[in-house]
């Protein structure tokens, strides 16, 4: 049986080449990410991963970007409000729940609002009165944002979902900064 002798240098060279390629990849990847996440160049725009019943059961009416803020606006109706020491607990459903559900029991959800993140006198609400609730999230383009953006960009690239012609979305998780309520004309229920 013939023994094949392999020189150690080869491994080192291969290692160095791979490392160089990896660093090159990192450089390109992160560099491209950093470049593209700057204003106007994004290939991906952020959306908040709400992971809450409100978002699962109510389709937001609008998603606006105001500076560093993302605003989600939902049109809902409450049927019960509980006042706790530091929060309001809304028992609610989507205003247009019939578009998605046959039975309102499936559309109901509970959502908590921190009292220190917004102000509203719920005693002014009529029974069955719909309102817009706007949830505002601050999204700074900081290091966390860069990491989220870069990773998402790479994933989209690998999966082939990344398009140079249109902007995709990527999900981030942030805490809500404040909320706001805008009351709509009441629906008169006898």
């Amino acid at each position: 049986m013939k023994k094949i002798a392999i020189k150690r240098d080869i491994f080192i060279k291969i290692g160095l080449i791979l490392l160089s390629l990896f660093l090159l990849f990192l450089f390109i990847w992160l560099g491209f990410s950093f470049y593209s996440m700057q204003g106007g160049n994004e290939y991906l725009i952020p959306i908040i991963n709400l992971e809450e019943e409100l978002d699962r059961k109510v389709a937001y009416e609008s998603l606006n970007r105001e500076g560093n803020y993302l605003e989600y606006r939902y049109k809902i109706v409450t049927y019960q409000i509980a006042f706790e020491e530091d929060k309001y607990v809304l028992y609610a459903y989507a205003y247009d729940f019939l578009d998605s559900y046959e039975d309102i029991e499936d559309a109901k959800f509970v959502y908590e609002l921190d009292k220190d993140k917004g102000k509203f006198d719920f005693e002014t609400l009529e029974w069955g009165q719909p309102f817009y609730i706007t949830l505002r999230y601050r999204v700074d383009k900081d290091f966390n944002y860069f990491i989220d953006y870069s990773v998402s960009l790479l994933k989209k690239f690998i999966s082939g979902e990344l398009s140079m012609d249109s902007k995709g979305e990527f999900t981030i998780k942030r805490d809500m900064n404040n909320w706001e309520i805008e009351v709509l004309e009441p629906v008169i229920l006898e």
């Binding site: 006042f83 309102i104 005693e123």
Partner: protein, 896 residues
């Protein structure tokens, strides 16, 4: 390389083995599978020829038909691509005929027999798979109980509230173009709501003053004395007494709710001052989540609901406003819960014993006995005092199953194509099982309940002379309450036995707003007043029951919450003392206005307007304390001429302040009106204990006698004087008229007849008793002066009426100093009016006064029986007669 060849060899061998293996597998697995599939396809046919025998599926109706047609039972046949050739018929039937085994009906068309309905027949529209697709228009489900296609007639709410839009739906068949979704709209089937009624039941137990109200709750006093509860709060449910155990003596309300078809799930009570239908929550908080702490939105209404939960009726009370206005579960223990006020404080306590709720008729009839209390639960002495008083309309409402919370009304139905849409539609319409359908179907029960927490007042309770009749007094007062007058009782007591010698007669009643009931006990003999509390307590003054309280009059009813009332009473020849008038009035809530009593001083009184009325033994003459602005000048005061016309009434009491410095062992006290009059006391520089005016003054006079121009117009040993002091025909006896002094010395008694006219200056020493018959007049009031110094008693007697029917003053224009008692006698003649005495000068008595003169009560209340008025002429004249050696008497000097 060898190695590789070997490997190839081995590989080939393996491949061969594998091929065999696969072949075997194919034979044993695939072939049976193939046959299985083939046979399955055969089995699918309902009838077929198995090669020798016609075979039919047992469940199918399968017949064999001959071509011509003729039915024959083919027992042997061959299969030939859908056609069966009969090889041998039963019982020698023909062979060679062509037959078809059909599941359904058989037919033929020329030489082509076929089975109708089989998939391969050439006919369209025969419900087999080869039919062309046709448009089948669908029909959605119809409205069947518990829904209907008929709109409700005269429903409580708009018909749309019961409308179930697009309840059922279906889509036209595939052959339709376009395919249309078709709907059925339905209505819920209405259920009439329960009929409510209520019957307030008032307390039968009287208050301590015997008051009972059928329509009011009051705020009377609650106390415990010697272990006995005295609860004067009429119609208040606390302390709790079980209605069932007390024979309905207590205050409660019995409400009845009846439904015709469904069980009653909730009953409601609302009390409101407004006649507008109550606005109450649309939602009940069944899960304890949501809403604010309970409160009622104003202090002029309150209410509660009872919801049946299990075997209990749980009380709920209102909370919040708008979306937060929900029925919240009340804090309910020991059979009490509180309805909260606007400030979330306890406003009304509701007493509800579950045993007093009766459910009958399979839950379709509910009777609730409950009571209300406005006392604090923990301390029934105190009132909650939140709710405003007034008349409260009682509103009632009840919900049966249909009217309460519709959200869960149809959950009992099993899920299927008919029921599930109903359940979903109701869920979507009513959102939650806490929303009440008929939340506002309040019905005015027609019953009211009144609440009065404010005590009434008795104002301007006065007694004075009437405008007519000499013995009639007017007793007047004004009742003031925030709501309404109910009843009053007037008690009259006398200070002395037989003070009123004849029963008091009621002359007249005047009552603004009238009266519906008067229980007059006039002519009335007043019971005796006593300073003994126990005696007074036993009189039960103010009690409404005559058996317990001998009142003079009781009056009830009429209209108005501010009522002026007046009684005119004939007191007759009332004596010297006091009459006590007690007035006790009740408003309709049993709240008591105790006017206390007004003490009518029936004694004659005196006025010493700067004059001297001195009694060495002290004085107990009735005097008045007059306050300017409060005490109005009596009618006729200013026309009493003399002496009242120039005495301002408000100042008439000024010199009634007497200081008896000579009272042994008694340190003089400040005059009663010192604070008001800012008076001061001028002490004497020497006070001589005068034991006898007669002796002292006669001695002083004797010393100065010779220096005076003395004349004796009546001579010596005078016993009676009458006529003029100085007869005009008598010569001046050598002295100027203005300087002469008449000296009259009576060695024993002296009588001054009524026609005596002191028309000059005179000094009269009486070594016995002095009797003045009626009056002593002056010729010139500002100059003439007579001073009487009497060793014995002085009697001022009467002498017929001075003037007609109106009281007038007998004038005594003299200064009288008596060593003994001075008596002003009573007029005993039957006159319409009695006369008073006016002393223009002074009266001194070392042993006291007896003022027997009295006036008719009407005059007595207005005018003093004795007026003693100072006149400086006596001071000057006395100095002439007696010198200035001694201070005879100290007097108070004040100004106002």
């Amino acid at each position: 390389m060898r190695l590789l060849n070997n490997n190839k060899f081995l590989y080939k061998n393996r491949m061969k083995k594998t091929g065999r293996f696969l072949t075997i597998i194919s034979m044993f697995v695939l072939l049976p599978l193939f046959f299985l599939i083939i046979s399955s396809s055969i089995i699918e046919a309902a009838c077929w020829c198995n090669g020798t025998t016609r075979v039919c599926d047992a469940t199918d109706t399968c017949k064999t038909y001959q071509y011509n047609p003729r039915e024959i039972d083919c027992i042997e046949c061959t299969s030939s691509n859908g056609w069966d050739y009969c090889v041998e018929g039963r019982d020698g039937g023909a062979t060679g005929w062509i037959y078809e085994c059909c599941k359904n009906e058989y037919t033929y068309d020329y030489n082509s027999p076929y089975c109708t309905g089989d998939d391969d027949d050439p006919i369209d529209d025969d419900d087999d798979d080869d039919d062309p697709i046709q448009c089948i228009i669908c029909t959605p489900l119809a409205c069947l109980d518990p829904v209907t296609s008929s709109a409700p007639v005269n429903p409580p709410f708009s018909a749309t509230d019961y409308f179930l839009d697009n309840l059922y739906s279906c889509l036209d068949g595939e052959g339709c173009d376009p395919r249309t979704t078709r709907y059925t709209d339905c209505y819920e089937i209405l259920s009439p709501q329960p009929d409510p009624s209520i019957l307030p039941h008032h307390e039968l137990k009287e208050t301590t003053l015997g008051f009972v109200s059928e329509t009011y709750t009051g705020a009377g006093r609650y106390s415990i004395e010697n272990g006995d509860i005295k609860d004067d709060r009429v119609n208040d449910g606390l302390p709790i007494i079980n209605v069932e155990d007390t024979g309905d003596n207590e205050f409660y309300m019995e409400a009845t709710f009846k439904d015709g078809d469904q069980i009653i799930e909730a009953v409601y009570f609302w009390f409101s001052k407004s006649s507008e239908k109550p606005v109450t929550p649309k939602v009940i908080d069944l899960d304890g989540v949501g809403g604010n702490a309970p409160k009622t939105q104003n202090d002029e209404s309150f209410g509660f609901m009872l919801h049946k939960e299990g075997n209990s009726w749980i009380p709920y009370i209102g909370s919040g406003e708008k979306a937060l206005d929900v029925w919240k579960k009340a804090s309910y223990s020991n059979n009490i819960f509180a309805v909260k006020g606007p400030g979330r404080q306890d406003m009304v306590n509701v007493i509800l014993n579950q045993n007093n709720i009766t459910v009958t008729d399979s839950g379709k009839k509910v009777v609730v006995k409950s009571s209300l209390s406005f006392k604090e639960k923990s301390s029934p002495y105190s009132l909650l005092d939140v709710l405003k008083g007034g008349k409260y309309n009682i509103w009632l409402m009840a919900n049966d199953t249909f009217g309460f919370t519709p959200h869960d009304n149809y959950n009992y139905l099993p899920n299927n194509a008919r029921n599930t849409p109903i359940k979903n539609a109701i869920h979507n319409k009513w959102i939650t099982n806490e929303r009440i359908r008929y939340y506002n179907q309040w019905i005015d029960s027609g019953e009211d309940w009144n609440i009065d927490f404010e005590s009434p007042n008795i104002e301007n309770f006065t007694i004075g002379p009437a405008t007519y009749g000499k013995t009639i007094v007017s007793v007047a007062w004004q009742f003031v309450d925030d709501i309404d007058f109910s009843t009053l009782v007037l008690n009259i007591l006398e200070s002395e036995d037989s003070l009123v010698p004849n029963p008091i007669v009621l002359q007249k009643i005047v009552s603004d707003g009238g009266a519906t009931y008067i229980d007059s006990k006039f002519p009335f003999n007043p019971p005796m007043f006593s300073t003994d509390e126990e005696v007074m307590k036993n009189l039960n003054i103010g009690h409404l029951n005559y058996n317990l309280n001998k009142y003079a009059i009781k009056m009830s009813g009429g209209t108005g919450n501010v009522r002026k009332m007046q009684l005119e009473l004939d007191l007759g020849e009332v004596g010297q003392g006091y009459l006590y008038f007690y007035l006790t009035a009740f408003d309709k809530g049993g709240n008591v206005a105790r006017g206390g009593y007004v003490k009518l001083d029936t004694r004659d009184w005196i006025v010493t307007y700067g004059g001297l009325l001195y009694s060495a033994g002290g004085s107990d003459f009735p005097v008045r304390t007059l306050i300017e602005g409060r005490d109005e000048e009596p009618l006729g005061w200013s026309t009493k001429n003399p002496p009242l016309n120039d005495i301002k009434f408000a100042y008439a009491d000024l010199s009634s302040e007497l200081v008896g410095e000579d009272i042994e062992g008694v340190i003089p006290v400040s005059p009663v009106k010192s604070v008001d009059t800012l008076n001061y006391h001028i002490p004497s520089y020497s006070v001589i204990d005068v034991s006898s005016y007669y002796n002292s003054l006669k001695a002083a006079f004797e010393k100065r006698k010779d220096s005076l121009n003395i004349v004796k117009p009546f001579g010596e040993n005078v016993g009676t004087i009458s006529g003029l002091l100085f007869q005009f025909h008598i010569a001046n006896q050598g002295v100027p008229t203005q300087e002469r002094i008449a000296l009259i010395e009576a060695p024993a008694n002296l009588t001054v007849n009524s026609d005596f006219n002191c028309n000059g200056k005179g000094i009269i020493f009486v070594n016995g008793n002095l009797t003045i018959v009626g009056k002593i007049v002056n010729g010139k009031t500002e100059k003439d002066a007579c001073i009487f110094v009497v060793k014995g008693d002085v009697t001022i007697d009467y002498d017929g009426p001075v003037s007609g029917n109106e009281m007038a003053y007998d004038q005594i224009n003299a200064y009288i100093l008596a060593d003994k008692i001075t008596t002003i006698t009573k007029e005993v003649k039957t006159y319409t009016s009695y006369d008073a005495i006016y002393v223009n000068g002074g009266l001194h008595s070392l042993e006291g006064f007896v003022i027997g003169r009295n006036l008719k009560i009407q005059d007595r209340l207005r005018f003093p029986a004795l007026v003693v008025r100072n006149n400086s002429k006596y001071g000057v004249f006395a100095e002439t007669l007696f010198g200035t050696e001694d201070t005879l008497q100290t007097t108070e000097v004040g100004y106002k």
